[in-house]
């Protein structure tokens, strides 16, 4: 017994070190493997509140650019409005209610913290649980795809940006619907790579890359980027495609979180199939 106490007394620093180290490894493991483990809840959005205060000061410096990009977006949306089109036919039937049912809702939010230079980049936005945001929702900017929500607190959410080793977004090449997975290799925040596109599919430079219909997070056909360069490694079954992203992550200010109204229904159906064999 005395030896045991002596042992603890002699090595208490090591034991302290080892216990705390073990604890942090468990936290890292949990966060990497169970994405719903909500780290933001644990810290209570404390850091996000701080960043928002800082951001409300620094925002003034970027007001001009922000206005410009919002005006450009407004102009684009206006051109898509129904009264921007010349009506070709006479009959306008109003059966929209039954034929079209809204599937996606957009929640606008401001970026309060962001990085592009790290290997795993995260974005913090100023909307959270109270505004209807949940983990695993897609996020887009005014130009293209931004990332996926990982954790939410009452007023804030963190987003795993597309510039993150753990973010994989299902995408396709618009002209032939060849699908692949968008993954970032950590080199340049302007480019990402599209993996697992079969090599028999023809790919050209400047082909549009859009979100695919397999993703439950994004509506089909949202712009992601365009093909910048492509090649096939010897002995490889897939194209190596370098995609130039439309979203400029280093100047990101306004984003939209996408709520898929049918997501639960689809997931439920797919999960019921899993237990079927």
């Amino acid at each position: 017994m005395r030896n045991l106490i002596f042992f603890f007394y002699k090595y208490y620093t090591f034991i302290l070190f080892f216990t705390l180290e073990l604890f942090s490894f468990v936290v890292i493991y949990q966060y990497n493997h169970y994405q719903r483990a909500s780290f933001l809840n644990f810290t209570g959005g404390m850091a996000s509140g701080f960043y928002e205060t800082v951001n409300s000061t620094t925002n003034y410096f970027g007001l001009r650019n922000m206005n410009d990009s919002l005006m450009a977006e407004n102009a684009r949306l206006r051109s898509q409005m129904i009264n921007a089109y010349y009506q070709n036919g006479f009959t306008q039937t109003s059966i929209n209610d039954t034929l079209y049912k809204q599937q996606y809702e957009y929640i606008s939010a401001n970026v309060v913290n962001n990085s592009v230079g790290k290997r795993n980049n995260y974005i913090t936005i100023d909307k959270g649980k109270l505004h209807g945001i949940k983990p695993d929702m897609g996020v887009i900017g005014s130009n293209g795809v931004v990332g996926i929500v990982t954790s939410v607190s009452d007023h804030f959410s963190t987003i795993r940006s597309a510039l993150n080793a753990n973010t994989k977004i299902s995408c396709m090449i618009q002209k032939n619907n060849a699908f692949g997975s968008l993954e970032w290799n950590g080199d340049d925040p302007k480019f990402s790579s599209l993996k697992y596109v079969n090599k028999h599919v023809p790919v050209n430079s400047n082909d549009e890359v859009v979100t695919s219909n397999f993703s439950m997070l994004f509506p089909q056909g949202l712009p992601v980027g365009k093909v910048y360069a492509h090649s096939i490694e010897a002995g490889d079954n897939f194209h190596a495609i370098k995609v130039e992203l439309y979203t400029n992550f280093s100047t990101l200010k306004n984003v939209y979180v996408i709520r898929n109204i049918f997501k639960e229904e689809q997931e439920e159906l797919q999960n019921s199939l899993k237990g079927d064999h």
């Binding site: 208490y12 705390l20 180290e21 942090s24 936290v27 404390m46 790290k118 290997r119």
Partner: protein, 172 residues
Amino acid sequence: MIIDIFKYIGRFVFIILIQILVINNIELDTYINPYIYIIFILTLPVTMKPWLVVSLAFFTGMVMDTFSSTPGLHMAAAGFIGYFRKFYLEFACSKEDFEKQITPSISKKGFAWFTLYTFLLTLLHHTVLFYLEIYSLSEFFRTFFRILASTSFSVLIIVVSQLLFYRKKEER
């Protein structure tokens, strides 16, 4: 003694603010991510109790984690230097240094000593941090290069800040 505690709290807040508001926003390249907040752990007095250093290191890491939404990452990395610091100091400091209760700094131990000390511990910190961040060995050499680039930048910033802030104080 009480004044010392306030001094350390002030220094801690200052260093963390510099890291998250200034250094984190300097995005030179995806390969260069300096982390200078470890200067707080590096410049604790040599005679400080090892358990206190380890606890402070973990706490520093935890605060950094909160501000960069990376649970556990900085905690694990900072904990390592908090623990291994004492072995290097026992090896590299003389008995006199321990008797005088010095803090490791350029003015006390010289430029070369401090740079080597900073380099070794920063390298350890960045190695743990960057490999845990990517969480796989699939990009082994790329991560290795990233570690070397970031370490040299961190060491540069830490040494320069030492020259700027601490020299003057010692001369007075």
